[in-house]
Symmetry: C2
Amino acid sequence: MDLSIGELSRRTSVKVPTIRYYEQVGLLSPPARTEGRQRRYGEAEAARLNFIRHARELGFELEAIRELLELSGSPDRSCAEADAIARRQMEAVERRIGQLTALRGELERMITECGHGHVCECRVIQVLADHGQCAHAQH
Amino acid sequence: MDLSIGELSRRTSVKVPTIRYYEQVGLLSPPARTEGRQRRYGEAEAARLNFIRHARELGFELEAIRELLELSGSPDRSCAEADAIARRQMEAVERRIGQLTALRGELERMITECGHGHVCECRVIQVLADHGQCAHAQH
DNA sequence: CTTGAACCTCTAGTCGCTAGAGGATGTAGG
DNA sequence: CCTACATCCTCTAGCGACTAGAGGTTCAAG
């Protein structure tokens, strides 16, 4: 308890300017200050910041994290909302994986088909120049 | 040939402001203009823009596209560089897929374990609050 | 009491666009 | 030729989630 911003940063693996940024956008409330106006944090703030960091690692946007934090502060409410937020996030992640998997296929094909000769016959360049040479047209 | 920016936009599915943006950052060179200073494009520019769009769809950054465009303009050079750029891109895509797949697992577990009761025992909230409850510690 | 690491605020930059203001131009119909 | 109006022009600012840096202050150890 009574951590400086640097200590909090080390404890949570969130960088110092990021902590200040979270305060600025209202994800963290303004902490206590020393006489000289330096920030001092307690356990509750460290826990909240860990929550945020963890949610960020799972790809939640700050707005979603804001909602999740609000929900976590009202334990009597149904968790249907938290569920819905998490579910939305999972769907977004799945869509993104699908997209990237298609891209990987395209890139792979492009690279393996390249004869490693000169640019004038380079498969990579050719495919980029002409979408018609792609296996899948949907991107 | 002799397309207005709007026609070029329709032909390439690249939005008008994006075309102007590409010109601004030097991916497209300043086109011919009418008396009244409106842009007019030819086939070569449409092809170049298609190249860019396609590379963007494959997730290449504008800087990488700049290199690829330069390579495509010097057909006698070895395509080792184009290869390397594409390979780097594929590795980045693969890393991202790996990350997202781990996240999906975590999210899935979080959601299925939630009893859909109240927030105070919500699995989603609990897991976010305490990273120790994650299956994989590496994120 | 001095040193120097860590802190403070503030502004600006990153990437790849996107939106909007406020005005000029091009083209089709009358 | 004139009018309407879609499209074009430039310019500035905004998005998300930080990151970097300037220029100055405070804290804690020795």
